[in-house]
């Protein structure tokens, strides 16, 4: 690693020598059955009609402003009420539940409907925020129109990163649920664990990646300020045969043209073969890259 460019300002993760592998169901028959079953139960849960359609990627049921979409590639769904989801009107700011109430409501909703999984835990509360500015106003009028309770996932005590591992329950009042998305795949632990690569090797692989190949000494700095071991879950639209063991490397790059911008990269944390790429679904991005 070129220490004139890279600086490590974090402790490397203390890891076991091996990591569990979690696979998912990807055969077509199983996926179709699970999608169909999920849609039926969600139609009942959200009070929708049983008229359904598909866009080839999702099965969708609608009723007036409400819709639920079940992703055929994963065990994920997204419910939205368009009358309330991501709206801009100020009236939606008046009765938002406070943080604690929103968390209680979200937990109650998920538990009562069998959606609160052991792997999930509340991570944060966030908002849809609107700022409206009349002509020539420089600052505008700022208010929140939705509160979101965000859940993240962990397996074997390790975080699951990526867009395919999150649940969000959203409210505009104590009694109006504006949306729920639940992006997750049911996983099965495999009996055989895989050897982890050393975190130092992962950092070397990361530093040698083409992303940094054109940075010049004296003109660029890369500070690594966090490194975590975990798994990566791809978008709910993707078939992913196994969650990918990764080191998540976070840091800050500074160049003259773009001072201090942060990055999150993921380095595959196990040594893998071409067969693994096919069976575990490591095709991330436009290259079968160790770093994505």
């Amino acid at each position: 690693m070129n220490t004139n460019i890279f600086k490590i300002e974090t402790r490397l993760p203390e890891t076991e020598k091996q990591i569990s592998i979690f696979t998912t169901a990807t055969d077509t028959e199983t996926r179709e059955r699970k999608t169909s079953e999920s849609l039926k139960s969600l139609i009942k849960l959200f009070g929708l009609t049983d008229r359904t359609s598909t866009d080839g990627e999702k099965m969708i049921a609608t009723a007036k402003s409400k819709s639920v979409a079940v992703y055929q590639a994963s065990d994920s769904f997204w419910y939205q009420d368009d009358d309330y989801f991501a709206r801009e009107e100020r009236k939606f700011s008046q009765e938002l539940p406070d943080n604690n109430s929103a968390q209680d409501l979200a937990l109650k909703f998920l538990k009562e409907n069998g959606l609160m999984l052991d792997a999930a835990a509340i991570h944060s509360v966030s908002y849809t925020t609107v700022i409206a500015a009349k002509p020539d106003e420089k600052t505008g009028d700022e208010y929140n129109t939705e509160v979101h309770v965000n859940f993240r996932y962990s397996l074997d005590g390790l975080p699951v990163f990526g867009p395919g591992a999150k649940t969000r329950v959203s409210f505009v009042t104590d009694s109006i649920n504006s949306g729920v998305y639940h992006f997750w795949r049911e996983v099965t632990p495999q009996s055989k664990k895989r050897n982890l690569i050393d975190p130092k090797l992962a950092l070397e692989i990361h530093a040698k990646n083409f992303r940094f190949s054109s940075l010049k000494e004296g003109a660029a700095k890369v500070i690594i300020n966090k490194m975590e071991l975990g798994y990566f879950a791809m978008s709910p639209t993707e078939l992913q045969p196994a969650l990918i063991p990764v080191y998540k490397i976070s840091g800050v790059v500074s160049t003259e043209s773009l001072p201090e911008y942060v990055f999150d990269h993921h380095v595959v944390a196990i040594k893998y073969s071409e067969a693994d790429v096919k069976t575990m679904g490591f095709n991330i991005g436009n290259v079968k890259s160790l770093v994505f």
Partner: protein, 224 residues
Amino acid sequence: MATKGIEWVNEYHGRASNLSNNDNNAQGFYNRLSGTKSFEYGDDLAWDQDFEESGTGSPSAGTDSSYADNVDVVFFSGHGSSSGMLFGKSNRDDGRARPSELGLGNKDCEWLVVDACEFLSRTDVFNRLRGAFKGLHYILGFHTTCLDVKDRGEKFAAKLNDGQRVRNAWINACAETENSGTECAYLRADSSGTDTFNDHWHGKGSVSADPTGSVSLFYLKTSC
């Protein structure tokens, strides 16, 4: 005729770290969205001046009337910040399309998509970007940093083709491709007699008249 253009950068020649997926990301949008393909420029052929209003900034090499403002929707995928969209080469203009150099919609553009970090940071957003709206309906982007992903453009295009509102399609595509810590955003213009809130892609639903004159702006950010 509905027209579209894309520009993307992966190779930054040391101006910033390289990126990996912006070609696929932008091309997914270009190939999936219904309409006429007007231009695609990537890496060293993607230039900041293509987004800039003629006569603005220094250097003032803007040629948006031939590119970004000559299509209905233009999609940029690369590095960004609240200071602008960053390009890999600086020898055409200065390699950065700054907010103060934008002026879109006085020819054609309705929607500018900036799939890049922090271009729509809420900090000083109205001061920075009000001048960009010369008939433009929306800028869609991120308040925070975002991931370098291969498929957000395609997902966004698919949702537009399905008839979702432009704003919903962007928010939904971002949620499907980002971690929950990311916040996507849009900046929308409206004026008397216009309804850009309900904008759809051409042929897929209503499209508002262009907001001009005294324009109100609406900024929305939400977690993915």
